[in-house]
């Protein structure tokens, strides 16, 4: 590639900030980006998800000050006051920076669990590959804060909330938080990650990177609710390194933002490890929601599971890319991938790209995809019981997605997702009735 003419998209939206970075790692990441540019449609991994929405803006750093009242209101929209979720330990970021006033005190954390801010001691770790992933390079160059959480050996930490709020800024902004979760041997944790924004504010771009490391026998359930503002751009990358007998179970529910991608790189590094990359997307208008995963089986007897369900209305589009790489040593691999979509309008679209690359000879890997409309017989059954058409359709859509969220093992996290889902469907029905 020619260093002077990157093949990808222009870095103009971030140019000024990128040229101001100074430490070694950020400089190196900025250099990687300068070579590649932001990915364009000819980059295979970004063929179905176009980043043109980033062009034509200059993304400034967000304001440090925010309106406390606005923050509380947005927070209450995802963690209702008086709900069980309000009692969980939480770390809240506002526009990419930790907001201690909205977060729980360190003292409220269970014994053996600790967190610190990325800003206080930036550590990028060794799991990511900014050279290969431009969105990670962008994060590395511009990350200013984030959560660094660790759970000590054998500690069952329960649920911890990581909340990222986007509040009104003066102009178009972006934030690039850097999170790390480290589980010591036999530790367990449910990480509930929520992104929420204030509808009606200016365009913002949320570009988080989360690195997870799971030692022998550790168990991390990572449940994500993405409920950004309607015009937002959300491009997240997760890395999970999973040691033997450890399990990384993840579920992402995409409800918000105009353009979203949740990309997971999971590496099964020890025997009898397991990874679940599940998710659901409820998309409308011209929303684009992308769930991409790269799962590498580097050890024998490991399990990978992916089940993603999409409900698409209007002119929305879902993307599912799932790559499973089974290395030669990874005998007895058990891999399963399923992507299902309900297309509720003739202009909605799903692009699915399963990819199996297998070098071991004794493996079981399967993948499948289904695309369909609502079942007329089920609809008639509900209507014959007095339930009007719009409500009957809503019930069936909710049922389809609830069958996905049922995969979330942690009951508190599942309740949070199902509640958000029910609210989103209700808003949609109300919007339909208003004729908008």
């Amino acid at each position: 590639m020619n260093a002077l003419a990157p093949s990808g998209r222009s870095l103009a939206p971030f140019e000024a900030r990128l040229s101001g970075v100074h430490d070694v790692e950020r400089k190196s990441a900025a250099g990687d980006l300068a070579r590649t540019g932001l990915p364009g449609p000819r980059v295979e991994a970004w063929h179905y998800t176009n980043l043109r929405a980033l062009s034509g803006h200059v993304f400034a750093e967000s304001d440090v000050l925010f309106d406390e009242k606005e923050a509380r209101a947005v927070l209450a929209s995802v963690i209702p006051e008086g709900s069980i979720f309000e009692k969980l330990p939480r770390l809240v970021l506002v526009n990419g920076r930790i907001a201690p006033g909205l977060s729980s005190s360190t003292a409220s954390l269970p014994e053996g669990v600790s967190w610190s801010s990325f800003a206080s001691a930036p550590d990028f770790g060794t799991q990511t590959s900014p050279q290969r992933d431009p969105l990670v390079a962008l994060n590395t160059a511009l990350a200013s804060d984030g959560m660094q959480l660790s759970v000590a050996t054998g500690v069952k930490a329960g649920q911890v909330l990581l909340v990222s709020l986007a509040l009104s800024s003066s102009g178009v902004v972006s934030f690039h938080p850097r999170h790390n979760v480290a589980l010591a041997p036999e530790a367990s944790l449910t990480l509930i990650e929520i992104s929420a924004g204030n509808d009606g504010q200016e365009l913002y771009f949320h570009n988080p990177v989360l690195t997870c490391s799971l030692a022998e026998g550790a168990h991390l359930e990572h449940v994500k609710l993405q409920q950004e503002a309607g015009n937002a751009i959300h491009l997240a990358t997760v890395y999970a390194d999973i040691a033997g007998h450890a399990t990384y179970e993840s579920f992402t529910l995409t409800l918000g933002s105009a353009l979203a991608r949740h990309e997971v790189h999971a590496s099964l590094a020890g025997a009898h490890a397991a990874v679940h990359v599940n998710g659901a997307q409820l998309l409308g208008n011209t929303q684009v929601g992308d769930i991409t995963s790269v799962i590498t089986h580097s050890a024998p007897d490991c399990i990978s599971r992916q089940t993603v369900r999409n409900v698409l209305t209007d002119r929305s589009r879902a993307v599912f890319q799932g790559k499973v790489l089974v290395e030669r040593v990874a005998q007895k691999t058990d891999g399963y991938q399923m992507n299902q979509a309900l297309l509720l309008s003739p202009t909605a679209e799903i692009d699915a790209k399963p990819e199996l690359e297998i070098y071991a000879d004794d493996v079981r890997c399967s993948h499948g995809a289904t695309v369909g409309a609502l079942d007329e017989e089920q609809l008639f059954y509900l209507r014959s019981r007095g339930i009007a058409g719009a409500q009957a359709r809503q019930m069936l859509v909710e049922a389809f997605l609830i069958e996905a969220t049922d995969l979330v093992r942690d009951e508190v996290a599942r309740t949070l997702l199902d509640g958000a889902l029910a609210d989103a469907l209700l808003n949609r029905i109300t919007a339909e009735e208003r004729g908008s």
Partner: protein, 256 residues
């Protein structure tokens, strides 16, 4: 009102590979309030089609005739409006609804119908009380309310679930489409008792069946014999006994 349901000259067809296939060819039938009527007939005579047309299934084209239900034009109503007006169809093959909790489904249906009828909605407590009483009568476990609608239910459980819905929705007219098929003797008795419990001057039933047995439990007021999309004979309960002994052979020649 001497007519709860009045079907006159009803013709209906279904699209079979682009060609309309006529299934109902002039059905005439009257069900007065408070009566139990049975429709019997050989396979493919149009019994199930009639029940679907009455419940408002869209695949069927009504090409001629009329249906009035409590003096209203039934065919002009949406399926949910028919349910609210008091029509209930117990499906021959109840539909499975994965991801839909049975209790939530029932409560949603009951309250949709109550709203439409101008009655107050049932709150969670009121609903539970009513539904518990109904499930007890049908020998249904609480577990069946917690499961997804009809998913993993046995044939008998599905039929009982239909009768449970019927009990909760309090229809004026229940159409039972082969509700007795695939049931063992005990299940048949439970289902029949469930229907019998609803008998009142305000409740009528149209029972589609092949078997004498369910009718023995229910004690029908009239039997109608349907052959090739028409009612060819109507009579008292003795007609069911005659069919049980002789089959439909004599009616087939009648219809030809």
């Amino acid at each position: 009102m001497s007519e709860l349901l009045k079907i006159s000259g009803l013709h209906a067809s279904i699209d079979a590979d682009g060609i309309p296939k006529e299934i109902l060819r002039g059905v005439d039938l009257v069900v007065p309030p408070g009566e139990v009527h049975a429709i019997m007939g050989p396979n493919g005579c149009g019994k199930s089609t009639l029940s679907y047309v009455l419940a408002g299934r869209e695949e069927y084209d009504v090409t001629a005739g009329s249906v009035s239900f409590m003096g209203q034009d039934l065919l002009a109503m949406e399926p949910e409006e028919r349910a609210a007006a008091g029509l209930f169809l117990a499906f021959q093959a109840p539909v499975e609804l994965p991801g839909v909790n049975n209790a939530n489904f029932l409560r949603t249906a009951v309250n949709a119908v109550r709203r439409a009828r101008g009655e107050p909605e049932l709150d969670a407590v009121g609903f539970l009380k009513t539904v518990r009483a109904a499930t007890k009568n049908l020998s249904m476990s609480d577990d069946m309310l917690k499961r997804n609608v009809n998913v993993g239910f046995s044939g008998g459980e599905k039929k009982r679930n239909e009768v449970l819905q019927m009990t909760m929705l309090q229809p004026k007219l229940a159409i039972l489409d082969e509700t007795d098929s695939g049931l063992d003797v005990d299940a048949l008795r439970i289902v029949a008792e469930g229907v019998k419990n609803l008998r009142s001057p305000d409740f009528s039933a149209l029972v589609i069946t092949h078997h004498q047995r369910l009718l023995e439990y229910l004690g029908p007021d009239r039997i109608h014999v349907m052959v090739r999309g028409r009612i060819v004979r109507s009579g008292g309960p003795e007609l069911a006994k005659q069919i049980d002994v002789e089959g439909y052979a004599s009616f087939l020649t009648e219809a030809a």
